[in-house]
């Protein structure tokens, strides 16, 4: 898609970002002690802290990713909303109180306080680093997605911009995103999401029709069009789909053949030429031939319908009885060029509102994939290294619990809104097929540039906050858990700080590269992976240390290593990675499933128990 930035949007965006940076700087100067740095002194009111908690958690993934995935796949995107919130139940009911009673900030600290083992520190440090990196990728991808429609910049510029700003912030000031900034972002995100949903419902639904070409005859190889003067210049077959190229007004267009209706339906297509240039619907991006889509063709069996404003339930009810034009993608090689065709897939609304478009549950493998995803989301939240830190920013356990409740309330409200923002994008003709992450911002743009700019700025600032928090967490892991434990002499304070800064720059650099490599993937899907790795590597260790007295240091170390390595192996060798990251056309990946948790979480638990039992015996027999 080609986007024209608007002056108003750009001004609002930069004013907002700069004020966020100034507020952060103001508060970061006030928190000079290390306790203040991590816990804001323990004096924050629980309600402020609760919204800040939500601001921390509702990162790019929630706003951009979930809405985008619902916009493209319907209900399957909503699974993430359900799973992310369910994850909070694990954190609240099982992990948070006991961890706070131990008086520790992170799971690495909690593990270490019990065992005082160098091995645990180092493996926990590595695990923190890897999970943070996995969580950084979607944030960076999200940042890149945001700047494109708003500022007209290409994706990679956005990624590098975020990377550099964050590296500068962290390396000079050592800022962790402050509670008040997160509070501001959290509340703005929720308020403007409510506004957006009200606008979606107020506008209601309407149908759209696409161009077709009538076919006179087709005998299995030759096709004859009704319109004179239009001839077929090329033909491709992919599975049971047949595509024809027709030249119209001197420009190539590609059409997919609908045998039942004897018509050709318009497609959108991208050609990656052998020389590296890319054509969108046969022309450079600037020609704007590649347009936004996402429409209803019929509502209640009728065309040319406009519903007017609808209530929340009625809105869903209308979509249930409508036909949604979704777009499927085929990628094939056309000589030296790579051709990606998006063709229409009219889907009954009934099917869009149940599981199946992204995560089908037909074969055994499908089912495993689905269960695995739901498992990772459920167990991932509590195991993310940066999420529980905020639990300690209030004075008493009761206040900590209350802020978690406020967080759950606001996050839950937001997640219900995602369904309406996602379905709104799906049916409002705002989708950019090259990047599902833009669905919600583009939906906002279809209403008002100002709301679009504010929402983008809030989301962008959230990315900045999350990224700097993650980079602080990972550089902390490098300094305290890795370098600090490996070097025998122990490090001076000054040296620790400089290693920390160096680590921040390196992690930031890696995040920039990964953010560019993973461009175009749905950020929520990527976060799903981060959750899977966290749940596999960290959760068994943390749960068993809190609740099983038989746990040994060696058991913890081996369970972290097994969880980490097995989860990453499955992800890196999965079909999605082969297709979307390595860009291999038509290569079958060795791993049968995309989501590792169903295998790796139990594996990590079993490893911990078995190794603990064995090492315990040895210790006793000694």
């Amino acid at each position: 898609m080609n986007y024209q930035p608007s002056a108003l949007g750009v001004i609002i965006f930069f004013v907002f970002i700069i004020s966020v940076l100034l507020i952060s700087r103001y508060f970061s100067k006030r928190t000079s002690s290390s306790a203040g740095f991590y816990t804001a002194g323990g004096h924050i009111h629980w309600s402020v802290n609760g919204i800040a908690f939500a601001g921390d958690y509702l990162s790019a993934a929630s706003f951009l990713g979930i809405c985008g995935m619902i916009a493209v796949y319907g209900f399957d995107g909503f699974l993430y909303s359900i799973g992310y919130l369910a994850g909070w139940m694990v954190a609240l009911f099982v992990i948070a109180e006991p961890l706070k009673r131990m008086g520790k900030y992170t799971f690495a600290d909690a593990l270490d306080s019990k065992f005082k083992s160098k091995g645990i520190r180092i493996t926990a440090g590595i695990s923190t680093l890897i999970v943070s990196l996995f969580y950084l990728i979607p944030q960076m991808v999200g940042a890149g997605s945001l700047v494109t429609p708003l500022l007209g910049w290409p994706h990679w510029v956005g990624v590098i911009l975020v990377g550099i700003v964050v590296i500068i912030i962290v390396a000079t000031a050592g800022m962790a995103s402050t509670t008040y900034v997160q509070f501001l972002k959290g509340s703005l995100l929720i308020i403007f999401s409510i506004v957006l949903v009200i606008m979606v419902l107020g506008k209601g639904l309407k149908t759209t029709s696409y161009e077709t070409l009538a076919v006179e005859s087709y005998d299995g190889s030759d096709i004859q069009l009704v319109a004179e003067g239009k001839s077929i210049s090329n033909e491709w077959k992919a599975g049971d789909k047949i595509f024809f190229e027709v030249e119209i007004n001197g420009k190539p267009t590609i059409w997919s053949f609908n045998k039942e209706k004897m018509i050709l339906e318009e497609t959108l297509f991208i050609t990656n030429l052998a020389d590296g240039s890319i054509l969108y619907n046969g022309a450079p991006k600037e020609d704007e031939r590649f347009r936004q889509v996402g429409d209803l063709s019929e509502i209640g069996g009728e065309k040319n319908v406009e519903t007017g404003s609808l209530g929340m339930f009625k809105f869903i009810g209308k979509i249930k009885n409508a036909t949604v034009i979704r777009w499927n993608k085929v990628v094939m090689m056309d000589g030296e060029n790579k051709l990606t065709i998006f063709y229409q897939n009219p889907t009954p609304g009934k099917e869009v509102l149940v599981t199946g478009q992204k995560f089908p549950v037909k074969t055994g493998r499908d089912k495993m994939n689905f269960i695995s995803l739901m498992l990772a989301l459920f167990f991932g939240t509590a195991a993310l290294p940066h999420i529980l830190i905020r639990y300690y920013t209030v004075s008493s356990p009761a206040a900590a619990r209350k802020s978690t409740i406020v967080a759950i309330m606001s996050i839950g409200l937001f997640y219900i809104l995602t369904l309406f923002m996602g379905l709104g994008s799906m049916t409002s003709g705002v989708l950019d097929l090259t990047n599902s992450n833009m669905a919600a911002p583009l939906l906002a743009r279809s209403f008002s540039v100002a709301i679009f700019a504010i929402i983008s700025a809030v989301a962008f600032a959230t990315v900045l906050g999350t990224v700097s928090g993650l980079i602080v967490a990972s550089s902390g892991a490098v300094v305290h858990d890795l370098v600090g434990k490996i070097s025998k002499k122990g490090l001076s304070d000054k040296k620790q700080v400089s290693i920390g800064k160096l680590a921040a720059v390196i992690v930031g650099g890696i995040a920039i590269v990964l953010g560019i490599v993973f461009k175009g993937m749905n950020v929520s899907f990527l976060v799903g992976w981060a959750f899977a790795v966290a749940a596999s590597a960290n959760l068994p260790a943390i749960v068993m240390v809190l609740f099983w007295k038989g746990t040994t240091a060696k058991g913890v170390v081996s369970s972290i290593i097994v969880g980490l390595v097995s989860a990453m192996t499955i992800i890196l060798l999965s079909q999605t990675t082969y297709d979307s990251v390595y860009h291999l056309v038509g290569v079958k990946a060795p791993m049968p499933i995309d989501n590792p948790a169903i295998i790796t979480v139990p594996l990590s638990f079993i490893t911990l128990v078995v190794v603990s039992l064995i090492t315990k015996k040895k210790e006793i027999s000694k």
């Binding site: 323990g42 359900i82 909070w88 009911f93 599981t355 549950v361 089912k367 004075s395 356990p397 997640y415």
Partner: protein, 98 residues
């Protein structure tokens, strides 16, 4: 990361009962969550059943979110009640941070 305690916690006499409540609520929520997964995997067509304007998938999905909110509120109320009841002597010092 830091070593040492984040805040000075008073002795909490309610911690045992709070852990127990947490476990039961976790179990309850896990069962309902698992129910969603099981129905989707075993009988996906059931999820398409109409419920007014909505269908079962959406009602169950939103229900899981709302149920989480309700459980969280009950959990907080119960924990607060037990903290109040069992920690009366410590009441004067509650809320005192470092």
């Amino acid at each position: 990361m830091l070593h040492g305690k984040a805040t000075k916690n008073e002795v909490d006499h309610a911690s045992k009962i709070k852990t127990k409540i947490g476990m039961w609520m976790f179990l309850l929520y896990t069962l309902v969550y698992a129910g969603f997964i099981i129905v989707t995997v075993v009988k996906p067509e059931l999820m398409g059943t109409d419920i007014g304007y909505l269908n079962l998938a959406i009602v169950y999905g939103m229900g899981l979110i709302v149920f989480a909110l309700i459980l969280a509120l009950i959990y907080n109320a119960l924990c607060s009640k037990f903290e109040k009841k069992l920690n009366i002597i410590d009441e004067t010092s509650v809320g005192g941070a470092e």
